[in-house]
Symmetry: C2
Subunit: 121 residues, 2 copies
Amino acid sequence: MSKNFEVATLLDYYGMLLTDKQREAVEYYYNDDLSLGEIAENLEISRQGVRDSIKRAEAILFEAEEKLCLLKNSRKLEEGLKIIREKIDVIDDLNIKRYRSNDINESIKIILAELEKLGEM
Amino acid sequence: MSKNFEVATLLDYYGMLLTDKQREAVEYYYNDDLSLGEIAENLEISRQGVRDSIKRAEAILFEAEEKLCLLKNSRKLEEGLKIIREKIDVIDDLNIKRYRSNDINESIKIILAELEKLGEM
């Protein structure tokens, strides 16, 4: 069974769509790097049961991303916010060095606070 | 059976998590305002079957939102982008009327393009 490390990232987004057993198996496997045998022992199920749980969980995670695009959209959001923040810094810098407008300064502060909030989403 | 119109909105976000039959039943009921009897005729299932499909679909939609918060986050994103756009307009206006900086103008153009892209997400 080969590991696809995208799974660990998808787990952050869609972990709540899995059953407890599926989520535990995937976490042990991808986050804690346990072997199928070790996971089987921890969950008190067969090695084949672990394998099946992980396979099923992976299918659910990839299907969820294909349908809902949370990861793709989150990356898009991150990129967009980064560009906006860079350009706000350019304006801020020009304002500090040249124009010294309090109104621009106030607007920049509010924009930065909003960017911060959106970055935490 | 009472109608909760949040369902129509959730359908836009999570419709792909439903089976074809569930989605069709909910669309007929919420978007086209058909009666259970009319939907039963269209889908060639019983009235009770329609009722069950809609109830099951509603449960899936609300559970998906509770777990994934797509609608809640989309509203947050919309609000944040609106505030940023308003403050960019303030800066743009000041720049046009007072400072006439090409560098600020260029940065604003790029920011507005990014805001537009994020608004379409």
